[in-house]
Amino acid sequence: MKGWKIAIIVVVVAVIALFWRGLHMDPRFIPTVLEGKPAMTFAAQEINSGRIWKLEELRGKVVVLNFWASWCRECRAEHENLLQVQERFGSNKDFVMLGVVYQDQDEDARRFLKEWGSNYPHLLDPKGEVGIGYGVSGVPETFLIDRNGIISCKHVGPLVGSELEKVMERWIKPMLAGKELKSCA
């Protein structure tokens, strides 16, 4: 068959295939580039106590970092589950769970915690430097940081249902037991 005919067929088929594939992709989803990279060190103030938390001081511990905001509905949905996580693992001295208030007013965040409860520290991020440092583009987002300060895994979206189970059973539990995570799934 002549060259031009082949070229037309190839291009048309390729374009259509690309679009079919495209319909199943989400143009707003941003893949993370930080898994396996060192977590950004920060010095942030706790919302109620005023104490400054620094990430370097947590070296040697397994850290779960959760970004949330009072105006975010999905954060509200996962809030009880987060409290549950802390209840389950909090007694382990190698486990630290921290919340980071993202693009929010301090007062609104305090009110949220007062109303819905809080059993772990929450950090303020007024300029958004921590958010940017972790490549956060929306809430809620949750990070798992290993004992060497490397970001092991990132989860976008609320921790509910099977996602919650994943984080508790396949992320935190093995890591606290000293095992290496093969994947974040």
């Binding site: 580039v33 930080l34 693009q103 300029k127 958004g128 940017i132 490549g135 583009s137 929306g138």
Partner: protein, 151 residues
């Protein structure tokens, strides 16, 4: 809104009016912000977007520029955090070269192909013995042809 407007008016009456110059830092922030993409917007750059994240990124850019960092450093940092997606144009490495060089390669290849096709189509020169035209005749004919072609 109204209160602020009133306050501004009052302020204007009490404070000395000044010739204001654009803050150089602001101009630099603008230039760099235009090269960064607002991640939660649909295709807008960080300077134009009204979203909160864009505002925070603009502040980030401004603060780091003020601290003396170069635009490249700031871009590199943001790229390390968010990936290539945060830049308004794809970085020139790897597969992206396809994009940067593609148009020129296409143009050159197309032009070559076209030239080849044109030469294939060209009528072969006819070898015929004709009495050569005199210079006078040639000029006259060319002139007539030119005039015809002009219309």
């Amino acid at each position: 809104m109204r209160l602020i407007a009133l306050l501004l008016l009052l302020l204007g009456l009490t404070v000395q009016a000044a010739q204001v110059e654009e803050d150089e830092l602001e101009a630099k922030t603008r230039d760099l912000s235009r090269q960064l993409r607002c991640l939660v917007c649909q295709g807008e750059n960080v300077w134009e977007s009204h979203s909160d994240l864009a505002g925070q990124m603009r502040d980030h850019v401004r603060d780091h520029l003020r601290a003396g960092e170069s635009p490249e450093q700031i871009k590199a940092y943001l790229e390390s955090r968010y990936g290539d997606f945060v830049l308004m144009e794809p970085p020139r490495h790897g597969l992206n070269w396809l994009l940067w060089l593609g148009p020129f390669v296409l143009l050159s290849a197309g032009a070559l192909l076209l030239r080849r096709q044109l030469s294939l189509w060209r009528k072969p020169a006819v070898k015929v013995e004709i009495a050569a035209l005199s210079e006078e005749q040639k000029r006259k004919i060319d002139g007539e042809l030119a005039r015809l072609e002009d219309e």
